[in-house]
Symmetry: C2
Subunit: 238 residues, 2 copies
């Protein structure tokens, strides 16, 4: 039997997993909405983000009540503080999925993504969704190995992002400036979404091992970075 | 005389103000670096961000120690939790200033911003710096009126951002795709930076009044939004 205190801690974990499930589904549906110019689906994603925001507010309130009433120390304190940060990452991921959907709505009935970039955007969307599914699994299982995998997967996102920019910068680009602007922002949304999923997994690693994920895999070779016009970055600090 | 506990709370506030000062200076210098193609200044901003990250890590460690040892409740607990969030906003603002500087470095010796957009980017940079200066002042003074002003100032940023997009979408745009991509990202960096400054001020309002800033000024008319290709958004949740 668990006491009320640990039940409350567990329920905060459950809320994080539920947020992960919702924002994972949101990025998948937003990607479909933008590729198919599906206005109804876009609207659903846009409205659905409210549920994520509510979950976050509720989680925060419960975490603060827990801190005040139970005054946890050591590991339990870290779990609560880290949960607050993870909920911020998940909430922000939901916003980014919503941005993709809003772009679909803004350009409707036109399609924001030209045909020759469909495959790349689809891959980015699917990878983002997989990353979030893994992050949610890491929250449940506390599996450090799986958490470290997310950083490798994120390198894939960087490669896709770089491919997107190469396509944009290609002299044969024929889709005009508006589409270039849209694709630039889309690329950034997916990249930031992935960063937040990775950040969630990293925070679990830190909870479990007391070490930052970067230190644990210092000897894993990373993909060298291209000259995309934006910095590769983590979501540390939101 | 203040006791050790409240001295520690104060010193967390001091660190936030110092972070605000550093990231305010960083966005100003990054803007100069990108407008003047000043590589040395860009490098300084890029390296300087480490100091901001260190301040944040240090602040977090002290906040968690304070929670564990002093187990604050009610207002004091909220101050500590809110400080953690503000430090995340400030750290992220530093990253965004760094992104501007990295773009300056990437394009050096060329200039990333064409002449006809210098004035707009300069205004965005100056406004971002002013917003952060005000946010730091709000942390010090807890001045709710001033905090609410920041949201009005942020409407100015939205107008500048919209002007930037109108320029990009203009048929007479003659600077090519690479510059369009750079300007799109720059616009987003400044807008997000401003969002984080506003978020810091809003969190102070919430601490002081117990009400969310949006509720306090529900009857203040807001500038109507244009059809920029990205959502206007707050930095809530990072």
């Amino acid at each position: 039997m668990r006491d009320a205190y640990h039940e409350e801690l567990d329920s905060i974990g459950d809320s994080l997993v539920e947020m992960g499930r919702l924002v994972g589904s949101a990025i998948g549906r937003a990607t479909t909405a933008i590729l198919d110019a599906d206005l109804k689906l876009a609207e659903e994603v846009i409205e659905g983000d409210q549920k994520v925001d509510e979950l976050q507010h509720d989680l925060e309130a419960r975490a603060i009540t827990l801190l005040a009433r139970q005054q946890p120390v050591a590991t339990d304190l870290r779990i609560v503080v880290t949960s607050l940060r993870m909920s911020a990452d998940l909430e922000r991921s939901g916003d980014l999925a919503q941005h993709v959907a809003k772009l679909a709505r803004l350009r409707y009935p036109a399609r924001a993504v030209p045909r020759d970039l469909h495959a790349t955007i689809l891959e980015m969307g699917q990878l983002a969704q997989r990353l979030m599914a893994k992050a949610a699994e890491v929250i449940i299982t506390k599996d450090v190995e799986l958490a470290l995998q997310l950083e490798q997967d994120d390198d894939e996102m960087d490669l896709l992002h770089r491919a997107l920019f190469q396509h944009l910068m290609d002299d044969r680009w024929k889709h005009g400036i508006e589409t270039a602007v849209d694709v630039t922002l889309l690329g950034r949304y997916y990249e930031r979404y992935a960063d937040h999923a990775v950040a969630v997994a990293k925070r679990v690693v830190y909870l479990v091992t007391g070490e930052h994920a970067d230190e644990l895999q210092a000897d894993v070779p990373t993909v060298s970075r291209g000259e995309a016009p934006e910095a590769t970055e983590g979501a540390e600090g939101g």
